[in-house]
Protein backbone atom coordinates (compact mmCIF):
# COMPACT_ATOMS: atom_id res chain seq x y z
CA UNK A 1 0.00 0.00 0.00
CA UNK A 2 1.39 3.36 -0.96
CA UNK A 3 1.89 5.68 1.99
CA UNK A 4 0.70 8.68 0.01
CA UNK A 5 -2.75 7.52 -0.99
CA UNK A 6 -5.35 5.03 0.24
CA UNK A 7 -8.16 4.04 -2.11
CA UNK A 8 -10.91 2.18 -0.32
CA UNK A 9 -14.14 0.57 -1.48
CA UNK A 10 -16.63 -0.18 1.28
CA UNK A 11 -19.56 -2.49 0.65
CA UNK A 12 -22.36 -4.29 2.42
CA UNK A 13 -26.12 -4.52 2.93
CA UNK A 14 -28.19 -1.38 2.95
CA UNK A 15 -28.61 -0.68 6.67
CA UNK A 16 -25.15 -1.82 7.75
CA UNK A 17 -24.02 1.78 7.80
CA UNK A 18 -21.65 1.48 4.85
CA UNK A 19 -22.06 5.05 3.63
CA UNK A 20 -21.68 6.29 7.20
CA UNK A 21 -18.52 4.23 7.68
CA UNK A 22 -17.09 5.80 4.51
CA UNK A 23 -18.02 9.21 5.80
CA UNK A 24 -16.31 8.50 9.12
CA UNK A 25 -13.08 7.55 7.33
CA UNK A 26 -13.25 10.56 5.00
CA UNK A 27 -14.04 13.07 7.72
CA UNK A 28 -11.32 11.68 9.99
CA UNK A 29 -8.83 11.88 7.14
CA UNK A 30 -9.86 15.45 6.41
CA UNK A 31 -9.38 16.46 10.04
CA UNK A 32 -5.96 14.82 10.00
CA UNK A 33 -5.11 17.31 7.24
CA UNK A 34 -5.41 14.95 4.28
CA UNK A 35 -7.21 15.37 0.98
CA UNK A 36 -10.29 13.18 0.86
CA UNK A 37 -13.18 12.24 -1.40
CA UNK A 38 -16.28 10.11 -0.85
CA UNK A 39 -18.60 8.82 -3.56
CA UNK A 40 -21.69 6.76 -2.77
CA UNK A 41 -23.42 4.30 -5.01
CA UNK A 42 -26.83 5.88 -5.33
CA UNK A 43 -28.55 3.50 -7.69
CA UNK A 44 -32.09 2.18 -7.16
CA UNK A 45 -30.52 -1.06 -5.89
CA UNK A 46 -29.81 0.65 -2.58
CA UNK A 47 -33.24 -0.03 -1.16
CA UNK A 48 -33.01 -3.34 0.61
CA UNK A 49 -30.06 -4.33 -1.52
CA UNK A 50 -26.36 -3.66 -1.46
CA UNK A 51 -24.70 -0.35 -0.74
CA UNK A 52 -21.18 0.67 -1.48
CA UNK A 53 -19.04 3.76 -1.47
CA UNK A 54 -15.60 4.84 -2.50
CA UNK A 55 -13.23 6.77 -0.27
CA UNK A 56 -9.84 8.20 -1.15
CA UNK A 57 -7.46 9.56 1.47
CA UNK A 58 -4.38 11.23 0.04
CA UNK A 59 -1.48 13.46 0.96
CA UNK A 60 -1.58 15.00 -2.49
CA UNK A 61 -4.39 16.62 -4.41
CA UNK A 62 -6.88 13.98 -5.57
CA UNK A 63 -7.12 14.07 -9.35
CA UNK A 64 -9.64 11.38 -10.21
CA UNK A 65 -12.00 10.56 -7.33
CA UNK A 66 -13.01 7.34 -9.09
CA UNK A 67 -11.48 4.07 -7.95
CA UNK A 68 -11.06 1.22 -10.42
CA UNK A 69 -8.38 -0.70 -8.51
CA UNK A 70 -8.79 -0.25 -4.74
CA UNK A 71 -5.93 -0.67 -2.26
CA UNK A 72 -8.45 -1.90 0.28
CA UNK A 73 -11.92 -3.39 0.18
CA UNK A 74 -13.95 -3.43 3.37
CA UNK A 75 -16.67 -6.04 2.86
CA UNK A 76 -19.51 -6.35 5.33
CA UNK A 77 -21.44 -9.13 3.60
CA UNK A 78 -20.92 -12.02 1.18
CA UNK A 79 -22.10 -10.42 -2.09
CA UNK A 80 -19.59 -7.61 -1.53
CA UNK A 81 -16.68 -10.04 -1.56
CA UNK A 82 -17.90 -11.58 -4.79
CA UNK A 83 -18.31 -8.18 -6.38
CA UNK A 84 -15.06 -6.50 -5.37
CA UNK A 85 -12.56 -9.26 -4.49
CA UNK A 86 -10.97 -9.44 -7.94
CA UNK A 87 -10.63 -5.68 -8.25
CA UNK A 88 -8.23 -5.30 -5.31
CA UNK A 89 -4.73 -4.27 -6.22
CA UNK A 90 -2.16 -7.06 -5.88
CA UNK A 91 -0.62 -6.58 -2.46
CA UNK A 92 -3.75 -4.77 -1.32
CA UNK A 93 -6.07 -5.71 1.50
CA UNK A 94 -9.45 -7.36 1.92
CA UNK A 95 -10.89 -6.60 5.32
CA UNK A 96 -14.06 -8.59 5.83
CA UNK A 97 -16.78 -9.12 8.36
CA UNK A 98 -16.12 -12.76 9.22
CA UNK A 99 -19.35 -12.94 11.24
CA UNK A 100 -21.25 -12.99 7.95
CA UNK A 101 -18.61 -14.13 5.47
CA UNK A 102 -17.23 -17.64 5.78
CA UNK A 103 -13.63 -18.42 4.95
CA UNK A 104 -13.39 -19.33 1.30
CA UNK A 105 -10.96 -19.55 -1.56
CA UNK A 106 -9.73 -15.98 -1.54
CA UNK A 107 -6.89 -14.69 -3.66
CA UNK A 108 -3.51 -15.35 -2.11
CA UNK A 109 -1.83 -12.17 -3.37
CA UNK A 110 -3.67 -9.88 -0.99
CA UNK A 111 -3.64 -9.38 2.73
CA UNK A 112 -6.76 -10.83 4.32
CA UNK A 113 -8.05 -9.40 7.52
CA UNK A 114 -10.88 -11.24 9.23
CA UNK A 115 -12.81 -9.16 11.71
CA UNK A 116 -15.92 -10.71 13.31
CA UNK A 117 -17.41 -7.22 13.33
CA UNK A 118 -21.07 -8.19 13.73
CA UNK A 119 -20.27 -10.56 16.63
CA UNK A 120 -18.17 -7.92 18.38
CA UNK A 121 -20.97 -5.41 17.91
CA UNK A 122 -23.59 -7.83 19.24
CA UNK A 123 -21.44 -8.46 22.31
CA UNK A 124 -21.50 -4.73 22.90
CA UNK A 125 -25.27 -4.92 22.78
CA UNK A 126 -25.85 -3.15 19.47
CA UNK A 127 -25.33 -4.94 16.16
CA UNK A 128 -25.51 -1.65 14.32
CA UNK A 129 -22.03 -0.57 15.44
CA UNK A 130 -20.31 -3.28 13.38
CA UNK A 131 -19.34 -0.53 10.94
CA UNK A 132 -17.41 1.31 13.64
CA UNK A 133 -15.64 -1.90 14.65
CA UNK A 134 -14.37 -1.93 11.07
CA UNK A 135 -13.40 1.74 11.30
CA UNK A 136 -11.29 0.96 14.36
CA UNK A 137 -9.68 -2.00 12.61
CA UNK A 138 -8.91 0.09 9.54
CA UNK A 139 -7.33 2.79 11.71
CA UNK A 140 -4.67 0.26 12.68
CA UNK A 141 -3.66 -0.15 9.04
CA UNK A 142 -4.08 3.41 7.81
CA UNK A 143 -0.92 5.41 7.29
CA UNK A 144 -2.88 8.62 6.90
CA UNK A 145 -4.77 8.84 10.17
CA UNK A 146 -4.50 7.33 13.65
CA UNK A 147 -7.08 5.83 15.96
CA UNK A 148 -6.71 8.95 18.12
CA UNK A 149 -7.86 11.05 15.14
CA UNK A 150 -10.85 8.76 14.92
CA UNK A 151 -11.71 9.08 18.63
CA UNK A 152 -11.44 12.84 18.35
CA UNK A 153 -13.73 13.07 15.32
CA UNK A 154 -16.35 10.62 16.62
CA UNK A 155 -18.52 12.93 18.79
CA UNK A 156 -19.08 15.28 15.82
CA UNK A 157 -20.64 12.51 13.75
CA UNK A 158 -23.36 12.08 16.28
CA UNK A 159 -24.41 15.55 17.31
CA UNK A 160 -27.16 15.45 19.89
CA UNK A 161 -26.97 11.71 20.43
CA UNK A 162 -27.09 10.20 23.86
CA UNK A 163 -23.98 9.65 25.93
CA UNK A 164 -24.50 5.87 26.00
CA UNK A 165 -24.68 5.73 22.21
CA UNK A 166 -21.49 7.72 21.94
CA UNK A 167 -19.80 5.41 24.40
CA UNK A 168 -20.82 2.25 22.59
CA UNK A 169 -19.50 3.69 19.32
CA UNK A 170 -16.25 4.62 21.01
CA UNK A 171 -15.94 1.10 22.45
CA UNK A 172 -16.70 -0.41 19.03
CA UNK A 173 -13.81 1.51 17.48
CA UNK A 174 -11.58 0.46 20.35
CA UNK A 175 -12.54 -3.22 20.01
CA UNK A 176 -11.88 -3.20 16.27
CA UNK A 177 -8.54 -1.50 16.73
CA UNK A 178 -7.47 -3.87 19.50
CA UNK A 179 -8.55 -6.92 17.52
CA UNK A 180 -5.97 -6.00 14.90
CA UNK A 181 -3.46 -4.74 17.46
CA UNK A 182 -3.50 -8.11 19.19
CA UNK A 183 -3.01 -9.77 15.80
CA UNK A 184 -6.08 -11.92 16.05
CA UNK A 185 -6.58 -11.60 12.31
CA UNK A 186 -4.92 -13.85 9.74
CA UNK A 187 -2.70 -13.10 6.81
CA UNK A 188 -3.60 -13.99 3.26
CA UNK A 189 -1.40 -16.98 2.54
CA UNK A 190 -2.22 -18.52 5.90
CA UNK A 191 -5.97 -18.25 5.43
CA UNK A 192 -5.55 -19.61 1.93
CA UNK A 193 -3.55 -22.61 3.11
CA UNK A 194 -5.95 -23.32 5.98
CA UNK A 195 -8.80 -23.34 3.50
CA UNK A 196 -6.95 -25.58 1.09
CA UNK A 197 -5.97 -27.90 3.94
CA UNK A 198 -2.31 -27.51 3.06
Amino acid sequence: MSSKVERIILAGFGGQGILFLGKVLAETGMRAGKNVSWIPSYGPEMRGGTANCTVILSENEIASPMVTVPDTVIAMNRPSVARFNLKIKAGGMLMYNSSLIERQEFRDDIRLVEIPASDIAEELGNGKVANLVMAGAYAKFSKLFTVEDLYKALPDFMPGSKKELLEINHTAVEKGFNYVEEKKYMFGRYVYSVFKGI
Binding site: K23, M30, W38, P40, I62, A63, S64, M66
Partner: protein, 360 residues
Protein backbone atom coordinates in the same frame (compact mmCIF):
# COMPACT_ATOMS: atom_id res chain seq x y z
CA UNK B 1 -13.08 29.06 8.33
CA UNK B 2 -12.37 25.34 8.69
CA UNK B 3 -13.07 23.01 5.83
CA UNK B 4 -16.39 21.19 5.84
CA UNK B 5 -17.06 17.79 4.29
CA UNK B 6 -20.08 18.30 2.06
CA UNK B 7 -21.95 16.76 -0.81
CA UNK B 8 -21.76 18.70 -4.07
CA UNK B 9 -25.52 19.27 -4.03
CA UNK B 10 -25.38 20.66 -0.49
CA UNK B 11 -22.38 22.86 -1.31
CA UNK B 12 -24.43 24.52 -4.06
CA UNK B 13 -27.23 25.14 -1.58
CA UNK B 14 -25.02 26.70 1.07
CA UNK B 15 -23.12 28.77 -1.50
CA UNK B 16 -26.42 30.08 -2.89
CA UNK B 17 -27.40 31.29 0.58
CA UNK B 18 -23.96 32.93 0.98
CA UNK B 19 -24.46 34.63 -2.40
CA UNK B 20 -27.61 36.28 -1.11
CA UNK B 21 -30.07 33.96 -2.87
CA UNK B 22 -33.26 33.86 -0.80
CA UNK B 23 -35.63 32.21 -3.25
CA UNK B 24 -35.66 28.64 -4.47
CA UNK B 25 -38.33 26.99 -6.59
CA UNK B 26 -37.97 23.41 -7.70
CA UNK B 27 -39.26 19.91 -7.97
CA UNK B 28 -37.39 16.83 -6.70
CA UNK B 29 -35.51 14.46 -8.98
CA UNK B 30 -32.53 12.16 -8.43
CA UNK B 31 -29.56 12.82 -8.38
CA UNK B 32 -30.04 16.42 -7.26
CA UNK B 33 -32.66 16.08 -4.52
CA UNK B 34 -30.18 16.86 -1.71
CA UNK B 35 -30.07 20.43 -3.01
CA UNK B 36 -33.78 21.25 -2.53
CA UNK B 37 -33.72 19.18 0.67
CA UNK B 38 -30.87 21.31 2.00
CA UNK B 39 -32.48 24.59 1.00
CA UNK B 40 -35.88 23.62 2.37
CA UNK B 41 -34.19 23.56 5.76
CA UNK B 42 -31.73 26.41 5.23
CA UNK B 43 -33.75 29.13 3.48
CA UNK B 44 -36.34 29.59 6.26
CA UNK B 45 -33.43 30.18 8.68
CA UNK B 46 -32.42 33.28 6.69
CA UNK B 47 -35.96 34.54 6.03
CA UNK B 48 -35.88 33.05 2.56
CA UNK B 49 -38.58 31.29 0.59
CA UNK B 50 -38.51 27.66 -0.48
CA UNK B 51 -41.31 26.33 -2.65
CA UNK B 52 -41.64 22.81 -3.91
CA UNK B 53 -43.66 23.63 -6.97
CA UNK B 54 -46.28 21.38 -8.56
CA UNK B 55 -44.01 20.82 -11.55
CA UNK B 56 -40.74 21.88 -13.16
CA UNK B 57 -42.66 24.17 -15.51
CA UNK B 58 -44.23 25.97 -12.58
CA UNK B 59 -40.90 26.21 -10.76
CA UNK B 60 -39.03 27.88 -13.63
CA UNK B 61 -41.83 30.41 -14.07
CA UNK B 62 -41.68 31.25 -10.36
CA UNK B 63 -37.96 31.85 -10.92
CA UNK B 64 -38.89 34.18 -13.81
CA UNK B 65 -41.15 36.14 -11.48
CA UNK B 66 -38.74 36.44 -8.57
CA UNK B 67 -35.85 37.30 -10.90
CA UNK B 68 -37.94 40.04 -12.57
CA UNK B 69 -38.53 41.53 -9.14
CA UNK B 70 -34.77 41.84 -8.65
CA UNK B 71 -34.19 38.90 -6.30
CA UNK B 72 -31.34 36.46 -6.50
CA UNK B 73 -33.20 33.26 -7.31
CA UNK B 74 -32.44 29.74 -8.40
CA UNK B 75 -33.89 26.43 -9.43
CA UNK B 76 -32.33 23.04 -9.95
CA UNK B 77 -33.17 19.75 -11.54
CA UNK B 78 -31.70 16.84 -13.41
CA UNK B 79 -31.88 16.16 -17.15
CA UNK B 80 -35.58 15.28 -17.76
CA UNK B 81 -36.61 18.09 -15.41
CA UNK B 82 -34.34 20.57 -17.18
CA UNK B 83 -36.00 19.62 -20.47
CA UNK B 84 -39.33 20.57 -18.92
CA UNK B 85 -37.93 23.94 -17.87
CA UNK B 86 -36.76 24.92 -21.36
CA UNK B 87 -39.81 27.01 -22.22
CA UNK B 88 -39.31 29.10 -19.10
CA UNK B 89 -35.57 29.43 -19.68
CA UNK B 90 -36.22 30.77 -23.16
CA UNK B 91 -38.66 33.36 -21.73
CA UNK B 92 -36.15 34.33 -19.03
CA UNK B 93 -33.35 34.73 -21.59
CA UNK B 94 -35.66 36.76 -23.83
CA UNK B 95 -36.69 39.03 -20.98
CA UNK B 96 -33.06 39.28 -19.80
CA UNK B 97 -33.75 38.20 -16.25
CA UNK B 98 -30.78 36.94 -14.21
CA UNK B 99 -31.09 33.62 -12.38
CA UNK B 100 -29.16 30.45 -11.64
CA UNK B 101 -30.27 27.09 -13.01
CA UNK B 102 -28.51 23.94 -11.82
CA UNK B 103 -28.52 20.76 -13.90
CA UNK B 104 -27.12 17.68 -12.15
CA UNK B 105 -27.01 15.64 -15.32
CA UNK B 106 -28.17 12.02 -15.44
CA UNK B 107 -28.40 9.46 -18.22
CA UNK B 108 -30.75 10.13 -21.11
CA UNK B 109 -32.53 10.38 -23.50
CA UNK B 110 -36.03 10.17 -22.10
CA UNK B 111 -36.31 8.96 -18.55
CA UNK B 112 -32.92 7.28 -19.01
CA UNK B 113 -31.46 6.42 -15.63
CA UNK B 114 -30.16 8.19 -12.53
CA UNK B 115 -26.46 7.54 -13.15
CA UNK B 116 -24.06 10.39 -14.02
CA UNK B 117 -23.79 11.57 -17.64
CA UNK B 118 -22.71 14.52 -19.77
CA UNK B 119 -25.23 14.08 -22.51
CA UNK B 120 -26.95 17.45 -21.95
CA UNK B 121 -24.04 19.46 -23.39
CA UNK B 122 -25.86 20.36 -26.58
CA UNK B 123 -29.00 21.31 -24.71
CA UNK B 124 -27.00 23.48 -22.32
CA UNK B 125 -24.77 25.27 -24.80
CA UNK B 126 -27.09 25.62 -27.80
CA UNK B 127 -29.89 27.31 -25.94
CA UNK B 128 -32.10 24.34 -25.24
CA UNK B 129 -35.38 26.12 -25.70
CA UNK B 130 -36.73 27.98 -28.72
CA UNK B 131 -35.38 31.19 -30.17
CA UNK B 132 -32.02 32.86 -30.66
CA UNK B 133 -30.60 32.85 -27.17
CA UNK B 134 -27.68 31.64 -25.13
CA UNK B 135 -27.17 30.75 -21.51
CA UNK B 136 -23.85 31.15 -19.79
CA UNK B 137 -22.77 27.61 -18.86
CA UNK B 138 -20.37 26.87 -16.00
CA UNK B 139 -18.86 23.40 -15.52
CA UNK B 140 -17.41 22.70 -12.05
CA UNK B 141 -15.24 19.62 -11.44
CA UNK B 142 -15.08 19.46 -7.64
CA UNK B 143 -17.31 20.11 -4.66
CA UNK B 144 -15.27 23.25 -3.95
CA UNK B 145 -16.04 24.54 -7.43
CA UNK B 146 -19.71 23.66 -7.04
CA UNK B 147 -19.71 26.24 -4.23
CA UNK B 148 -17.42 28.81 -5.90
CA UNK B 149 -19.17 28.68 -9.26
CA UNK B 150 -22.58 29.03 -7.62
CA UNK B 151 -21.50 32.35 -6.15
CA UNK B 152 -19.76 33.42 -9.36
CA UNK B 153 -22.84 32.29 -11.29
CA UNK B 154 -25.10 34.72 -9.43
CA UNK B 155 -22.60 37.54 -10.02
CA UNK B 156 -22.32 36.77 -13.72
CA UNK B 157 -26.08 36.43 -14.11
CA UNK B 158 -26.57 39.90 -12.63
CA UNK B 159 -23.77 41.43 -14.63
CA UNK B 160 -25.04 40.18 -17.98
CA UNK B 161 -28.74 40.03 -17.11
CA UNK B 162 -28.75 36.49 -18.37
CA UNK B 163 -29.65 33.07 -16.99
CA UNK B 164 -26.59 31.10 -15.88
CA UNK B 165 -26.59 27.33 -16.07
CA UNK B 166 -24.44 25.30 -13.71
CA UNK B 167 -23.81 22.04 -15.54
CA UNK B 168 -22.82 19.34 -13.11
CA UNK B 169 -23.38 15.58 -13.06
CA UNK B 170 -24.50 12.79 -10.76
CA UNK B 171 -21.01 12.13 -9.37
CA UNK B 172 -20.31 15.77 -8.51
CA UNK B 173 -23.74 16.14 -6.96
CA UNK B 174 -23.45 13.02 -4.81
CA UNK B 175 -19.79 13.03 -3.85
CA UNK B 176 -18.40 14.57 -0.69
CA UNK B 177 -15.19 16.57 -0.56
CA UNK B 178 -13.83 19.16 1.84
CA UNK B 179 -15.04 22.66 1.05
CA UNK B 180 -13.79 26.06 2.11
CA UNK B 181 -17.02 28.02 2.19
CA UNK B 182 -16.59 31.53 0.83
CA UNK B 183 -17.45 34.71 2.70
CA UNK B 184 -21.12 35.73 2.48
CA UNK B 185 -21.93 38.50 0.02
CA UNK B 186 -24.24 41.37 0.69
CA UNK B 187 -27.00 41.51 -1.83
CA UNK B 188 -29.58 44.26 -2.01
CA UNK B 189 -32.80 43.13 -3.65
CA UNK B 190 -33.53 46.78 -4.51
CA UNK B 191 -30.30 47.36 -6.40
CA UNK B 192 -31.42 46.59 -9.95
CA UNK B 193 -32.66 49.65 -11.84
CA UNK B 194 -34.44 47.58 -14.49
CA UNK B 195 -36.29 45.37 -12.01
CA UNK B 196 -40.00 45.54 -11.32
CA UNK B 197 -40.72 47.70 -8.32
CA UNK B 198 -37.30 49.37 -8.32
CA UNK B 199 -37.81 51.93 -5.55
CA UNK B 200 -35.82 54.74 -7.22
CA UNK B 201 -38.34 55.01 -10.04
CA UNK B 202 -40.85 57.78 -10.47
CA UNK B 203 -44.31 56.42 -9.69
CA UNK B 204 -45.58 57.27 -13.14
CA UNK B 205 -42.76 55.32 -14.74
CA UNK B 206 -42.90 51.51 -14.65
CA UNK B 207 -40.41 48.80 -15.49
CA UNK B 208 -41.43 45.89 -17.65
CA UNK B 209 -39.85 42.45 -17.93
CA UNK B 210 -41.21 40.63 -20.94
CA UNK B 211 -40.12 38.51 -23.87
CA UNK B 212 -43.02 39.45 -26.13
CA UNK B 213 -42.28 41.77 -29.05
CA UNK B 214 -45.19 41.52 -31.46
CA UNK B 215 -43.78 44.14 -33.76
CA UNK B 216 -41.42 42.49 -36.24
CA UNK B 217 -38.90 45.30 -36.27
CA UNK B 218 -38.93 45.54 -32.52
CA UNK B 219 -38.17 41.83 -32.09
CA UNK B 220 -35.39 41.97 -34.66
CA UNK B 221 -33.85 44.90 -32.83
CA UNK B 222 -34.18 43.00 -29.55
CA UNK B 223 -32.58 39.88 -31.01
CA UNK B 224 -29.61 41.87 -32.35
CA UNK B 225 -29.29 43.48 -28.96
CA UNK B 226 -29.11 40.02 -27.36
CA UNK B 227 -26.64 38.94 -30.02
CA UNK B 228 -24.39 41.87 -29.23
CA UNK B 229 -24.55 41.03 -25.54
CA UNK B 230 -23.51 37.46 -26.32
CA UNK B 231 -20.61 38.82 -28.40
CA UNK B 232 -19.44 40.94 -25.47
CA UNK B 233 -19.65 37.86 -23.23
CA UNK B 234 -17.72 35.78 -25.75
CA UNK B 235 -14.95 38.38 -25.89
CA UNK B 236 -14.73 38.72 -22.13
CA UNK B 237 -14.45 34.97 -21.68
CA UNK B 238 -12.00 34.27 -24.49
CA UNK B 239 -9.62 37.26 -24.25
CA UNK B 240 -10.86 39.61 -21.58
CA UNK B 241 -11.50 39.69 -17.87
CA UNK B 242 -12.69 36.08 -17.53
CA UNK B 243 -10.03 34.50 -19.74
CA UNK B 244 -8.36 32.64 -16.87
CA UNK B 245 -11.65 31.76 -15.23
CA UNK B 246 -12.89 30.11 -18.41
CA UNK B 247 -10.28 27.42 -18.90
CA UNK B 248 -7.74 25.33 -17.02
CA UNK B 249 -4.60 24.15 -18.75
CA UNK B 250 -2.41 21.47 -17.19
CA UNK B 251 0.99 20.58 -18.71
CA UNK B 252 -0.12 21.78 -22.15
CA UNK B 253 3.01 23.74 -23.07
CA UNK B 254 5.10 20.81 -24.34
CA UNK B 255 2.24 18.37 -24.90
CA UNK B 256 2.04 16.29 -28.06
CA UNK B 257 -1.47 15.15 -27.21
CA UNK B 258 -4.05 17.37 -25.58
CA UNK B 259 -6.84 15.67 -23.64
CA UNK B 260 -9.99 17.75 -23.56
CA UNK B 261 -12.73 17.17 -21.02
CA UNK B 262 -14.95 19.03 -18.59
CA UNK B 263 -16.57 18.28 -15.24
CA UNK B 264 -15.82 14.98 -13.54
CA UNK B 265 -14.10 13.69 -16.70
CA UNK B 266 -11.41 16.37 -16.36
CA UNK B 267 -10.47 14.90 -12.98
CA UNK B 268 -10.02 11.45 -14.52
CA UNK B 269 -8.06 13.00 -17.38
CA UNK B 270 -5.67 14.60 -14.89
CA UNK B 271 -4.86 11.11 -13.59
CA UNK B 272 -4.45 9.92 -17.19
CA UNK B 273 -2.04 12.80 -17.89
CA UNK B 274 0.05 11.81 -14.84
CA UNK B 275 0.15 8.19 -16.01
CA UNK B 276 1.04 9.24 -19.57
CA UNK B 277 3.91 11.39 -18.34
CA UNK B 278 5.25 8.47 -16.29
CA UNK B 279 5.27 6.40 -19.49
CA UNK B 280 7.05 9.12 -21.41
CA UNK B 281 3.99 10.32 -23.34
CA UNK B 282 3.79 14.08 -23.35
CA UNK B 283 0.13 14.58 -22.58
CA UNK B 284 -1.63 17.74 -21.42
CA UNK B 285 -5.11 18.55 -20.19
CA UNK B 286 -7.34 21.32 -21.44
CA UNK B 287 -10.45 21.72 -19.36
CA UNK B 288 -13.18 24.18 -20.31
CA UNK B 289 -14.60 25.57 -17.07
CA UNK B 290 -17.06 27.64 -19.05
CA UNK B 291 -18.84 25.70 -21.80
CA UNK B 292 -20.58 28.66 -23.33
CA UNK B 293 -18.87 30.89 -24.34
CA UNK B 294 -16.61 28.01 -25.35
CA UNK B 295 -12.83 28.60 -24.92
CA UNK B 296 -12.24 28.43 -28.67
CA UNK B 297 -9.19 30.71 -28.63
CA UNK B 298 -7.39 28.64 -25.98
CA UNK B 299 -7.81 25.54 -28.16
CA UNK B 300 -6.78 27.45 -31.30
CA UNK B 301 -3.52 28.44 -29.63
CA UNK B 302 -2.79 24.82 -28.71
CA UNK B 303 -3.70 23.58 -32.19
CA UNK B 304 -0.55 25.29 -33.43
CA UNK B 305 1.64 23.37 -30.98
CA UNK B 306 0.20 19.97 -30.14
CA UNK B 307 0.00 17.06 -32.60
CA UNK B 308 -3.30 15.47 -31.54
CA UNK B 309 -6.43 16.16 -29.57
CA UNK B 310 -8.50 13.58 -27.71
CA UNK B 311 -11.87 14.70 -26.43
CA UNK B 312 -13.37 12.50 -23.70
CA UNK B 313 -17.00 12.76 -22.62
CA UNK B 314 -19.73 10.80 -20.90
CA UNK B 315 -21.82 11.04 -24.05
CA UNK B 316 -21.66 9.77 -27.62
CA UNK B 317 -19.76 12.92 -28.57
CA UNK B 318 -21.17 16.42 -28.13
CA UNK B 319 -18.46 18.84 -26.98
CA UNK B 320 -16.12 17.22 -29.52
CA UNK B 321 -17.93 19.26 -32.19
CA UNK B 322 -16.87 22.51 -30.50
CA UNK B 323 -13.33 21.19 -30.15
CA UNK B 324 -13.28 20.36 -33.86
CA UNK B 325 -14.60 23.81 -34.76
CA UNK B 326 -11.83 25.36 -32.68
CA UNK B 327 -9.06 23.15 -34.04
CA UNK B 328 -10.48 23.83 -37.49
CA UNK B 329 -8.85 20.91 -39.25
CA UNK B 330 -5.31 21.85 -38.24
CA UNK B 331 -4.78 18.67 -36.25
CA UNK B 332 -6.69 15.41 -35.84
CA UNK B 333 -9.36 15.43 -33.13
CA UNK B 334 -10.20 12.01 -31.70
CA UNK B 335 -13.12 11.14 -29.48
CA UNK B 336 -13.68 8.64 -26.70
CA UNK B 337 -16.93 8.39 -24.81
CA UNK B 338 -18.94 6.19 -22.51
CA UNK B 339 -22.62 6.69 -22.10
CA UNK B 340 -25.73 5.51 -20.29
CA UNK B 341 -24.26 6.32 -16.89
CA UNK B 342 -20.91 4.57 -17.33
CA UNK B 343 -17.87 6.51 -16.20
CA UNK B 344 -14.77 5.75 -18.28
CA UNK B 345 -11.84 4.48 -16.25
CA UNK B 346 -8.37 5.99 -16.47
CA UNK B 347 -7.16 2.67 -17.94
CA UNK B 348 -9.47 2.69 -20.93
CA UNK B 349 -8.66 6.33 -21.67
CA UNK B 350 -4.95 5.55 -21.41
CA UNK B 351 -5.53 2.77 -23.91
CA UNK B 352 -7.09 5.29 -26.32
CA UNK B 353 -4.11 7.61 -25.90
CA UNK B 354 -1.80 4.70 -26.67
CA UNK B 355 -3.71 3.92 -29.86
CA UNK B 356 -3.21 7.53 -31.02
CA UNK B 357 0.41 8.19 -30.09
CA UNK B 358 1.74 4.64 -30.61
CA UNK B 359 -0.38 3.34 -33.47
CA UNK B 360 1.64 0.13 -34.05
Amino acid sequence: MAKVLMKGNEAIGEAAVLAGCRYYFGYPITPQSELPAYLSKRLPQVDGVFVQAESEVAAINMVYGAGSAGARVMTSSSSPGISLKQEGISYIAGAEVPCLIVNVVRGGPGLGNIAPAQSDYWQATRGGGHGDYRTLVLAPNSVQEMADMTIEGFELADRFRNPVLLLSDGVLGQMMEPVNLPEPRDYDVNSKKWALGYPGKDKAERNLCSSIFLDVEELEEHNWHLYQKYQVMTDLFSEGQYKDFAVEEHLCDDAEIILVGYGIISRILKTVVEKCRKRGIKAGLLRPKVLWPFPTKAIQRLADKAANFLCVEMSCGQMVEDVKLAVNGKKPVYFFGRTGGTIPSDFEILNEVDKIVRPD
